[in-house]
């Protein structure tokens, strides 16, 4: 049988090298490896006017949470670490929701996949699946490599106070939230 061999790898390795460069070895040493000083491509007004449909197909505008401490977590059902940290976000929402915290999960995924996922793993905060737009939105919020998980936090009014590519520890998240809840 004739056989043609094509070797992939170059592009993968380039991508992975870029990932390795991005990952910040100092991140573990800091309470908040905070990249909020980095320029993001969106104003608070634009962020709050952004809309995504939820799992029921109802359009949700981010501005409905502009008076809360808004934590946006970008995730996907194909992202193993994303799913591992979601129970932590659910716990935070349960603990601090009444005090003004709002977690929102924007999924780089299909509505079908997300619906299937929450049937087994309900999280208790809004999940907004948008396979086509989510990554681009995350990039405009500073996720320049488009990797997941990616999480940003905004004080009421839209000031970016936290940005993280990769996992967040519960203790770290708890400290961040407790410090920045609306007065």
């Amino acid at each position: 049988m004739p056989k043609l061999i094509l070797a992939f790898g170059a592009a993968s390795l380039i991508t992975m090298a870029a990932v390795a460069l991005w990952l910040d070895p100092a991140a573990e040493k800091s309470d908040f490896p905070d990249r909020s000083a980095e320029k993001i491509d969106l104003t608070a007004g634009t962020i709050y006017s952004t809309r995504f449909a939820d799992v029921d197909g109802n359009e949700q505008i981010l501005g409905q949470w502009q008076h809360r401490l808004l934590v946006i977590n970008f995730w996907a059902t194909w992202c193993t670490p994303c799913k591992e940290e979601m129970p932590m976000f659910a716990k935070m929402q349960g603990k601090y929701g009444k005090d003004g915290l709002q977690i929102v999960g924007i999924a780089v995924d299909s509505r079908e996949n997300v619906v299937k996922f929450i049937q087994n793993s309900p999280v208790g905060y809004p999940l907004l699946p948008d396979e086509a737009r989510a990554i681009e939105f995350s990039k405009r919020l500073g996720n320049r490599l488009g990797l997941l998980p990616f999480t940003v936090a905004f004080r009421p009014g839209g000031e970016l106070i936290f940005s993280r590519m990769g996992l967040i520890k519960e203790q770290e998240m708890d400290k961040l939230v407790a410090k920045n809840l609306p007065k």
């Binding site: 056989k3 094509l6 993968s12 990932v19």
Partner: protein
């Protein structure tokens, strides 16, 4: 399109990274192609704290894909190429995942089996990545009215003359 031949795809995977077995998708000229289950390497089971187990590949993987390797296997037009697209997705051990991405290859075939050692012009080219670019440097080899060409133009990084 006849798919009587076998294309072997070899992935080199950097240390600390994995590719998910079930996330591979293959398309030839935009049409999905199924990879036979038996041609997939077993991979490594991975299980997260809250997740079902998934099969991953590390270091390298070799996949066998039914694919045309001769002009005779292609539709009878003036094209002597087809486009193989591979979609894959994986994660890094550092705790991040990259979105599904696609690598496209234009496989250019000669009049006879490419693998037959000959100097009669068997030739194939391929390019990695899906960035829009300047296209093949020797575009004349592709003919002038090849309707099956990808709309996106790929930049080659290698070509092989059989």
């Amino acid at each position: 399109m006849k798919l009587g031949s076998t294309l072997e795809l070899r992935y080199a995977i950097a240390d600390g990274y994995c590719i998910f077995r079930d996330r591979f998708q293959f398309l030839i000229d935009g049409q999905p192609v199924s990879i036979p289950q038996h041609s997939r390497l077993p991979g490594i089971w991975k299980q997260g704290a809250t997740l079902r187990r998934v099969i991953t590949y590390r270091n390298s993987v070799r996949l066998l894909l039914p694919a045309p390797l001769s002009k005779q296997a292609l539709p009878q037009d003036d094209c002597n190429l087809y486009v193989l697209s591979v979609r894959s997705q994986g994660c890094a051990d550092a705790g991040v995942c990259y979105p599904p991405f696609e690598q496209a290859i234009e496989v250019v075939l000669g009049a006879s089996e490419w693998s037959r050692p000959t100097s009669a012009g068997n030739r194939w080219c391929f390019s990695f990545g899906a960035q829009q670019g300047s296209g093949f440097t020797d575009r004349s080899m592709l003919g002038t009215s090849c309707n099956r060409l990808l709309k996106q133009v790929l930049t080659p990084i290698a070509s092989v003359h059989a």
